[in-house]
């Protein structure tokens, strides 16, 4: 179906007072970051222009009262979304990891814009359900655009917390001392300090080597001792890490920092969890973060059980394909290749819902590398981190490609505690966030990877492979379900922990009596694993790129119907007449 994209013009006040933002879905610009109101406007415009393909639902309100929006993309005319294999994607569960939202928006836009133009996407929107939540930590992401901040500030949900254990909540936030709208770094001249100016670039402050003369002492982020406790910025807003607040192997704060008071104590994680719990059709989940260029899966800690072999194959297949679609990104196991975490999204999805899930760490240090052919990598201690450019290298990138806009030069400031200091450093939309000109490729590759994954959702066909008269009124009926997708109709975890019912292979008919039935283990010898419970209804599943054949011994006459149905694959049916 070809549907002309509606150009929906919505005007609203954007971040800057007086600035108008117009959504033109036909000419969306993707080399820019969208603030909260703009994201909402785009979602509303998408829904308004494609009402038959979308639903826009608030999953709940955040701590500061903002809606947590979910855009469902699925063609209603081909069936309810909950009857189709679902793919879930969300972004900005950490409020400062904002390009995750753009990936979600771009994914939605790609599905809607290419619907009716690209055959594969049309088919996906007709046969799959996409659930897209662009801003889970909606409060902190909104503030990333409006409040003075930095690239690594604003990760937490806006749940007050006494970080410094002094009985007060969030009483010593960062301060924009020089009023430039940014929270940068502070340094003070100190011959007994720890750093010096890099001889290659005076903007760069580097740690001294043994025997070298120090010039600077680093003072951390821009701020004051607001509460007079002799410390600066030690109790900033939060800290509740929304990606440590999920219900699988959740651990309290003394084990896992930022986990919240109890599982799903935060509104964002709770809202998403309630939604996913009520959508058992979801078979894959993406949780977009920054940064590092990684597709991470669990186990997140030694407390988690291992991934069973069947699921490992699925993860490996998907992860390795991700490495091809998004070059440079690596498919890793978070607890093995990175560090221990408890209570994170992907573990909950997999262990509690039986849904495969990746945490995708968008963007890489090498995005802003400045290297020529043959330049030596300048990493520290291992392959994973070796792609990070040095600060000098990044300054060269800044100068050559960004006209110096990534960095605020050091400027003097009179600090009430430290005296004469300098303020400067990398700005908010840098480091963890790629320059805007690099965004389109990040968005496109990662969105297309989600779309590719959707093509790997269970994709069933159903055939009757045999109806054989056994004499004496008995008929042997065999039917086969074939799964063309890489994902099984149920993950091994969902099966081995009884998270969801097995799928059912059913034969029924008005004049039909079923004498026996079960999964056909060997079609040549007719070996069957019998369904002793109700032979007409065989509980089973179909692995990825695989088939499942069942056999029934029946008698009777007239029409009969064979159905394969499962939570994550929908249902397929064939009818036949008994011989």
């Amino acid at each position: 179906m070809k549907r002309a994209l509606c150009v929906c013009l919505l005007s609203l006040l954007a971040a800057a007072p007086g600035a108008a933002f117009e959504v033109d879905l036909g000419n969306m610009v993707w080399d820019r970051y969208y603030n909260h109101d703009e994201v909402v406007a785009v979602l509303e415009a998408m829904h308004a222009s494609h009402p038959e393909l979308t639903q826009l639902t608030s999953l709940g309100k955040s701590e500061e009262g903002r809606d947590i929006w979910c855009l469902t993309i699925a063609n209603r005319r081909t069936g309810a979304d909950t009857q189709k294999p679902g793919v879930y994607a969300d972004g900005a569960i950490h409020g400062n990891e904002i390009q995750a939202t753009e990936v979600c928006l771009y994914l939605a836009w790609q599905l809607l814009d290419k619907y009716g133009k690209w055959e594969r996407i049309t088919e996906l929107v007709d046969t799959r359900a996409f659930y897209i939540v662009p801003m889970v930590n909606v409060d902190s992401r909104a503030r990333f655009f409006t409040d003075p901040g930095g690239f690594d500030l604003g990760r937490s949900a806006r749940v007050p917390h006494d970080d410094d254990r002094d009985g007060l909540l969030d009483e010593d936030d960062y301060d924009d001392l020089d009023g430039d709208g940014r929270i940068l770094q502070m340094r003070v001249r100190d011959p007994f300090g720890t750093h010096k100016t890099d001889p290659e670039d005076p903007r760069v402050t580097v740690k001294i080597e043994p025997g070298e003369q120090a010039e600077w002492r680093l003072l951390g982020r821009e701020g004051l001792d607001n509460d007079g406790d002799g410390r600066v910025n030690e109790d900033t807003p939060g800290y509740l890490d929304l990606n440590r607040n999920w219900g699988f192997q959740w651990q309290p704060g003394y084990v896992q920092e930022g986990s919240g008071d109890y599982p799903f104590s935060a509104r964002g994680s709770r809202a998403v969890a309630d939604f996913l719990w009520s959508h058992p059709n979801v078979c894959f989940g993406f949780n977009f973060h920054n940064y590092g260029g990684m597709f991470l899966r669990g186990p997140g800690s030694a407390l988690s059980p291992a991934v069973p072999p069947g699921d490992l194959k699925v993860f490996d297949f998907l992860g390795e394909e991700g490495e091809r679609i998004v070059p440079g990104y690596r498919y890793l196991v978070s607890s093995v290749d990175l560090y221990t975490t408890h209570g994170d999204f992907d573990e909950w999805m997999y262990q509690c819902l039986g849904v495969y899930a990746f945490v995708t760490e968008l963007s890489m240090g090498s995005d802003t590398a400045y290297r020529g052919h043959g330049d030596e990598p300048n990493g520290e201690d291992g392959e994973l981190w070796s792609r990070h450019p040095t600060l000098v290298e990044r300054q060269k990138f800044n100068d050559a490609l960004m006209a110096g806009e990534m960095f605020s030069d050091w400027k003097p400031f009179r600090h009430p505690t430290y005296g004469d200091i300098e303020i400067g450093g990398w700005r908010a939309f840098t480091t963890r966030l790629p320059p805007e000109f690099l965004l389109p490729q990040t968005l496109h590759r990662n969105a297309m990877y989600v779309i590719w994954t959707a093509t790997q959702a269970p994709q069933l066909s159903l055939d009757i492979t045999e109806t054989k008269d056994l004499g004496g009124g008995l008929v042997r009926v065999r039917a086969r379900a074939a799964n063309a997708g890489a994902l099984p109709t149920l993950s091994e975890r969902a099966r081995d922990r009884s998270i969801l019912p097995l799928d059912t292979f059913t034969i029924e008919g008005a004049g039909l009596e079923v004498h026996g039935g079960g999964v056909l283990l060997d079609r040549d010898f007719g070996t069957v694993e019998p369904a002793r419970h109700h032979p007409a209804r065989v509980p089973t599943w179909v692995d990825g790129f695989s088939t499942r054949e069942v056999q029934w011994i029946v008698s009777g006459d007239g029409k009969a119907r064979i159905t394969y149905a499962g939570a994550k694959c929908g249902s397929r049916a064939v009818e036949f007449t008994l011989p």
Partner: protein, 617 residues
């Protein structure tokens, strides 16, 4: 039993009589009536269960002015497993005595928050027809993942109004029936040439014909198994994750919103004062060596392959991380140790002391006879969350199990820990082999001597569909924790005072003192001391580790600070001791210094001083 039968509370002076079952539906009105009668206390609703029942809660203010705006509070949570009506009756009896002004000492100066039944759905099931003792709330769950919900629960085959046990004739069975109508089944002993004849199941049919019995009963989650410490995933009736059911979630949210809660008491099946939990297989982290997590080793330059004691690490990390204030608990938090598996060894002395006092109290009250040991706290238990995560002293208490008729088995450690009160446990040897389960044997004998209790239903033959023979009978639901009604008043009137006495273990910020020593001119070294006159430190060792209990904040006014902060924290105030906080100040002659100390759940106090030049006060 009538579902709607109202509890009858006869209150006369300090004698409390609670007769009859306590119906969950009527708890609110019972609490309301109590509050009205004594014109004290506030009844609120914690949440509503999946079965539509309210979970009421009674807040009783101190009967004696505690002298602080927000007094410490004791949270009492009864029957979280929905299996112990006696616990709810105990909570009501406790509330009545508190309202009547009975408590003395510390119990009179704290707020009591009483949740008499955390699992009203499960409790209603136990009172239901037939009575079922599985404690599940009203959430519909597909336990066997077959696509149907609650389709194969137990069945009252013999029509006696209770779901008991069933010995199902089965050539593959491992069990043999006991002797006589009240016999306790035992495993067949092949070594003695015995062949098993039965499977031991709950009473019921295979309602859905899937060759499994009672595998998908009505209801879903037991709230008392749904708390976040030690929660076990994928266990029937535990919930899909911790805090997934409204009852547990509401209690957690309430507790974290009330930092004045300084102690949690759980009335139900377990008793952690009779049997103090000990480390089974988790070595004390303070006594063993640790290697550093990779990232921390890199950050500090320490050898990631080396092993260090915690004490060594405190010293090394203070230097390596440039954090001179780092303490033992900070370091424990950095070591990726995971959740605590046993009480902090620094907390065991007070726990054992409380246990000793409690057992002595039981003995004095005439309740020192050997009885069946209550079960240990199970996974996801309220009391475990309260101690390990909420960071306050927390005890579980039960009120009755059947008496043991036999001499104490040779379990010296248990006997020693329990002071002789408890003498047996349902040990694995019994379950695995020849001996009868001593708890069941005790119940059987008790029932035989108290036939009116109907605690043990005689085995009767029945025939199931398909002509399968079965014996139905055995322990009645909840019987292991349900004394005959005639014993209830006596049991509770003798044990409720012991519950109230537990408030005496609370730490209390008794006072803050201040002294100043001249350092020349108008300069003074001022030392404030925060005094705790309670027998427990504030916070406990585990409380420090959790960082949950509010800190003791000490402030100084009236002087110019030269060293030290206007707002300082006393990390821990020892039991029956004090913690100092120091400043160097400049104060002109005649200036009054004011020091204040406060922490919700501990108390508040202030003191003043006018420094005297050249002297020390």
């Amino acid at each position: 039993m009538s579902r709607n039968k109202m509890p009858v509370l006869i209150l006369a002076a300090s004698v409390i009589t609670v007769a009859g079952p306590v119906a969950g539906d009527s708890l609110e009105s019972s609490l309301d009536r109590l509050a009205r009668q004594y014109r004290r206390g506030t009844v609120t609703t914690l949440t509503t269960t999946p079965g539509g029942r309210p979970v009421p809660m009674l807040t009783i203010p101190p009967s004696v002015d505690p002298g602080v705006d927000t007094p410490s509070a004791v949270l009492v949570v009864a029957d979280p497993l929905g299996t112990t009506p006696l616990a709810t009756e105990a909570a009501l009896a406790l509330a009545a005595r508190l309202l009547a002004g009975d408590p003395t000492g510390r119990a009179a100066t704290v707020t009591w928050i009483v949740v008499p039944q955390l699992d009203p759905d499960g409790a209603a099931r136990l009172r239901g027809e037939p009575a079922t003792g599985d404690g599940r709330n009203g959430t519909a769950v597909d336990d066997d993942a077959d696509g149907a919900v609650d389709e194969d629960g137990p069945d009252d085959l013999d029509g006696d109004g209770a779901i008991t046990s069933m010995l199902l004739a089965d050539p593959e069975g491992e069990w043999l029936p006991g002797e006589g109508p009240t016999g306790v089944p035992r495993r067949a002993d092949a070594a003695r040439g015995e062949r098993g004849l039965y499977r031991w199941l709950d009473e019921g049919r295979d309602d859905d014909g899937d060759l499994a019995w009672n595998e998908d009963p009505p209801g879903g989650v037991i709230p008392g198994r749904n708390f976040p410490h030690g929660f076990t995933h994928w266990q029937p009736a535990h919930g899909p994750w911790a805090a997934s059911c409204p009852e547990s979630r509401a209690l957690l949210a309430f507790a974290f919103a009330h930092p004045e809660i300084a102690m949690v008491l759980v009335l139900g099946e377990a008793n952690t004062l009779l049997q103090v939990p000990v480390a089974a297989d988790t070595p004390d982290p303070l006594l063993r060596k640790h290697s550093l997590p990779r990232g921390l080793a890199r950050e500090t330059g320490l050898d990631p392959l080396a092993q260090f004691t915690v004490a060594e690490l405190v010293s090394l990390l203070r230097e390596g991380l440039h954090q001179p204030q780092l303490d033992t608990d900070d370091v424990l938090g950095m070591l990726d140790l995971g959740p605590a598996g046993a009480p902090d060894t620094r907390d065991l002395p007070w726990w054992r002391a409380a246990s000793t006092a409690y057992i002595r109290g039981l003995t004095t009250a005439g309740l020192g006879a050997s009885r069946v040991a209550p079960p240990p706290s199970g996974p996801g238990a309220v009391e475990e969350w309260a101690y390990y995560q909420f960071g306050v002293p927390a005890f579980a208490l039960d009120f009755w199990t059947p008496p043991l008729p036999l001499p104490t088995p040779p379990d010296s450690a248990l006997a020693a820990a329990a002071g002789g009160v408890i003498a047996a446990k349902a040990d694995s040897a019994a379950a695995a082999g020849l001996r009868l389960d001593p708890a069941l044997e005790a119940l059987s004998l008790f029932a035989a001597s108290h036939p009116a209790s109907r605690a043990w239903r005689p085995w009767q033959e029945t025939t199931l569909p398909g002509n399968r023979r079965a014996l139905v009978g055995g322990p009645a639901p909840g019987a292991m924790r349900a004394p005959p009604a005639a014993m209830t008043d006596s049991l509770l009137s003798r044990q409720i005072p012991l519950v109230m006495d537990l408030a005496g273990w609370l730490p209390r910020l008794a006072s803050v003192t201040i002294e100043a020593e001249s350092r020349g001119g108008e300069v003074w070294e001022v030392t404030a001391r925060v005094h705790n006159d309670g027998p427990l430190p504030y916070p406990t060792a585990q409380g420090r580790r959790t960082r949950r209990p509010e800190p003791v904040v000490v402030t100084l006014e009236g002087a110019e600070l030269l060293e030290g902060l206007a707002r300082q924290v006393a990390a821990q105030v020892p039991a029956m001791g004090s913690a100092p906080v120091r400043w160097l100040v400049r104060a002109p002659r005649g200036r009054t210094l004011v020091v204040r100390a406060a922490a919700p759940g501990f108390g508040a106090a202030s003191a003043t001083l006018q420094p005297v030049p050249g002297g020390r006060r």
